[in-house]
């Protein structure tokens, strides 16, 4: 579940866990209605943003916590703790105090603690936000592997789209307490269905305009920035419809003089940003609208276009996405 802060993704996660009340709807866990099940009977363990490890217990006691709440033989608890500690590479840390652990270790303990009751689902609330960037990438891969080897569902809340796209099989984009779009990362990335998703995900240019011509499978749209074409999607459009054309920044190219490309606009280069292997160009149209273009190039092999150069940009109609709605 991905969305900007305050969109309700953590609240939704807490509702699933039963930590937050709800006014309507049902929650089903593998066909079983758990809507009215009290929080401690749900077995929907959570990995907290702050890890929420018990500071008065050591690693072993933290991991065993969920098992010791119900009748279990001591040997059984010990065996399970050792099993799960081995899985999370925590064997050597079992006697440590929580305050003696690093961020990454804390997180592994938090995951081990959540998995000890063999849940059918694991909830993760921005578990990476307290980790170093390099550790984050490693933990992402580790979590993904863990999820696949356990074969249970992970519901992972994040505001970081790279995290969501690299780990998820299905992404839910949320905004202002409601779901904007559900789909595979590829779906969300290349076929956004709402204005919000198009703006939030990736690096897209959005052109609002009015349909002035409906063709075989394309529509022609007049935007303040110029006239453009787009493929129409599910619903056929009519003349005069207010629509938005989404053009991914990495699909925008510099027009070469004899190019007979479908869409062209004039713009002035205002600046650029190096992002390692790619460069983001910031351009301004004559109407004062910002257009972004992403190109794969390095600092050494840059196009070295002077600032304030007049350029012509182009993109292919099939690279665009048409949105039927237009939010002011």
């Amino acid at each position: 579940m991905m969305g900007p802060s305050g969109c309700g993704k953590t609240t939704l996660l807490r509702i699933i866990a039963g930590l937050e009340g709800m006014t309507s709807g049902t929650i089903r866990l593998q066909e079983k209605d758990i809507t009215y099940l009290p929080v401690h009977q749900r077995n929907t363990p959570m990995v907290w943003q702050s890890f929420a490890l018990f500071p008065h217990l050591n690693v072993q006691q933290n991991i065993a916590f969920g098992l010791t709440l119900t009748a279990h033989r001591k040997a059984e608890v010990k065996r399970r703790v050792r099993e799960i500690a081995a899985m999370m590479h925590l064997e050597s840390l079992l006697d440590r105090r929580i305050s003696q652990l690093s961020g990454g270790q804390k997180q592994r303990v938090a995951i081990a603690r959540a998995l000890i009751t063999e849940p059918k689902i694991l909830l993760l609330d921005e578990p990476m936000s307290a980790l170093d960037p390099h550790l984050r990438v490693r933990m992402q891969a580790e979590l993904k592997r863990l999820q696949q080897s356990l074969g249970i569902s992970f519901i992972y809340v994040t505001h970081n789209q790279n995290e969501a796209f690299s780990m998820a099989d299905r992404v839910v984009v949320m905004n202002r307490g409601s779901i904007e779009q559900v789909g595979t990362p590829a779906d969300i990335y290349s076929r956004p269905t709402t204005h919000f998703v198009a703006e939030f995900v990736g690096s897209n240019n959005l052109f609002d305009g009015e349909v002035i011509e409906v063709g075989q499978d394309t529509v022609t749209v007049r935007c303040p920035q110029g006239t453009m074409q787009a493929l129409w999607r599910e619903q056929p459009h009519q003349m005069g419809d207010r629509v938005t054309i989404v053009v991914p920044a990495e699909r925008v190219f510099l027009a070469i003089a004899d190019n007979s490309a479908e869409n062209k606009i004039d713009a002035t280069l205002r600046g650029f940003e190096f992002m390692g292997s790619q460069v983001i160009y910031f351009l301004e149209t004559d109407t004062g609208y910002e257009v972004r273009m992403i190109r794969q190039e390095s600092l050494d092999h840059s196009l070295a276009i002077p600032i304030n150069s007049r350029l012509q940009l182009t993109w292919k109609t099939r690279d665009t996405v048409l949105l039927g709605e237009r939010i002011q």
Binding site: A17, G18, L19, V39, H40, Q41, N43, T44, P45, M46, W48, S50, A52, L53, F54, P55, H56, F65, G66, L69, T70, R113, A114, T117, R270, G271, F272, I307
Partner: protein
């Protein structure tokens, strides 16, 4: 591009705060240090020092001798029975403190977890209010309540719950009630602050892992509030050990307990001070009590520290 914008960095506010070496720090601390030195530390040192003086011809003579302490310990369990009095004091202090925590902990917990934020402060002020009236006055007020024909007994007899009035006045229960009334605001305040600072995510985490509310209390809330319990216990013990008034006004000076009829140690010190001319010996007795308090203080703080 990346033209450097002429950003005017505002001077960091830290620069205006007093530095480690600043004179301001000492200037601010000076009044407290001077006041405490003159009115607390100096008398205390004087008290301990006098404990080593001796008496000749009914006059205290400065010097350094252990005679007072030898005298005290030679009759520790015999003539003056100081040892029993100390045991009695410790017994009253420990039971009162335990009772105080048992009463104040649920109150503080209810305040933190059940009362809405806006009302918490008001209720806290109400709980601390007894502090606004004089301690002695409050003890006399308790007398009128606890008397054989006082408010409580009259009520209980009228309600036919008891036949004969309960003897609370001039027993150790009287002493404890007076002390509890004095201790409760302090204990409630300490426990309230500690419980309020408990990370609520941890309680959520416990519930999320399958703990009932009861288990969450025993496994998480109680262990995490242990420092608060220890701190309030230290305060309770020290105040109870040093208090004379409750034991005199409500407890009647002596009290029957499982140890027998012995006065409290603090009352002995006061009596000796009033009755005898041997100030050095009284000072030695007082030093003994201070020593016990320091041991309790250090043990309590050490335990609380290892908890955190």
């Amino acid at each position: 591009m990346t033209q450097k914008l002429p950003i005017s960095t505002p001077r960091s506010p830290a620069r205006w705060l007093p530095q480690e070496t600043s004179l301001l720090k000492y200037l601010c601390l000076a009044p407290a240090i001077i006041y405490d030195s003159i009115f607390f530390l100096l008398p205390l040192i004087f008290l301990v020092w006098i404990g080593f003086w001796s008496v000749e011809n009914y006059r205290a003579v400065p010097g350094f001798s252990l005679s007072n302490y030898l005298d005290i310990f030679s009759q520790f369990f015999t003539r003056s029975r100081y040892g029993f009095a100390i045991a009695q004091s410790l017994w009253v202090a420990f039971t009162t403190t335990a009772l105080g925590i048992l009463l104040c902990y649920p109150f503080a917990m209810a305040l933190v977890f059940l009362v809405p934020e806006r009302l918490q402060r008001l209720l806290l002020v109400l709980a601390i209010m007894p502090f606004w009236t004089s301690y002695i006055l409050r003890l006399y007020a308790w007398q009128t309540i606890l008397n054989n024909n006082g408010l409580l007994n009259t009520l209980l007899v009228r309600l036919n719950w008891i036949k004969d009035p309960l003897q609370i006045m001039f027993t150790q229960w009287g002493t404890r009630i007076g002390l509890l009334h004095y201790l409760a605001p302090i204990m409630i305040l300490i426990l309230y602050l500690v419980l309020r600072n408990t990370d609520r995510t941890l309680m959520g985490a416990a519930r999320n892992l399958g703990a009932t509310q009861w288990q969450t209390f025993w496994r998480v809330v109680l262990p995490l509030s242990k420092p608060g319990i220890l701190y309030s216990a230290v305060f309770g013990l020290i105040i109870s050990l040093g208090d004379v008034l409750s034991g005199t006004i409500l407890g009647g000076g002596t009290g029957q307990s499982i140890l027998g009829k012995f006065p409290l140690f603090s009352a002995i010190i006061l009596n000796e001070y009033a009755a005898s001319t041997n100030l050095p010996r009284t000072s030695a007795l007082a030093t003994l009590l201070i020593g016990i308090m320091i041991v309790i203080l250090m043990t309590g703080f050490k335990l609380a520290e290892s908890e955190q």
